[in-house]
Amino acid sequence: MRTANRVYGLRWVLLPPLTGMGILAMLVGAVVAAPTELVEGDVQRLMYIHVPSAQAMYLAFGIVFVASIMVLWKRDMRWDAVARGAASVGVLFTAFALVTGSLWGKPIWGVYWQWDARLTSTLVLFLVYAAYLLARAVSDPGDEQAARYSAVYAIVGFLDVPFIVMSVRWWRTLHPQPIVSRLDPQLPGSMLAVLGISTLAIFLLALWLILLRTDTERLGQRLLGLRAAVDRREEA
């Protein structure tokens, strides 16, 4: 526990350089080191942003899910700050996954968008959590009741995630079946290595942004308490 606290205390020292190195390695790997795919050509290099962005989206919304359960269980507003911080990063990476997927899809499928199960359910996830952020933005950051209602909404919204994951197995979709998250990955070793580095880099970036955003939300909550204390002091 003490080691964990020490590592957490070093987050602003460790995360920025690690993320920077990871992103640099990702760029070199995706643009230079990875071989050109024979059928799809250079546009397939978008995979090194698209797939990790989708994974980071799952990570962020997983954190929102856990933090929302903690809001209801512990009634601690610090978890609400975590949920809001992770939700905003999740929405960002969902947007990245949707846009890079569309740009990859156009030259390969001939269309930017298809209302198939995977794409549509991902768009629904984006809209669900965009609405969550909007609702939290118009409510008072210190409002515990709003935090609890939002937590219930976020937990229900998370039910879309397993649906997204399973959609390509349950229905015939334009989006391909998983080629990496299986026992026998269908990618050459060199592409798999670059994808691994990219996933690690984007995870570090997402984690950094989540912590940054959570600290900002927490600061907003503390300021609210401080403002009330100053108001009382002035009235006294």
Binding site: L46, V99, L209, G220
Partner: protein, 62 residues
């Protein structure tokens, strides 16, 4: 193939532009919170100065 490079470039550009805008918005929020802290510090200092100048109510009148 040239057209494909356009899509590749657009994908990377969207990623970097999105990240830049997100960080810009976050910086704006942090700046607004910092300004709020400054304002509260000023108000607190004023309230404390007022309290020091005002004689205590119900003081020793015996």
């Amino acid at each position: 193939m040239d057209g494909q490079l356009g899509y590749l470039f657009a994908g990377f550009a969207v990623f970097w532009a999105g990240l830049f805008v997100y960080l810009l918005l976050l910086q704006t929020r942090i700046r607004s919170l910092t300004r709020e802290v400054d304002r509260l510090e000023e108000r607190l200092a004023d309230a404390e100065a007022d309290a020091a100048e005002t004689p205590p109510r119900g003081g020793p009148s015996r």
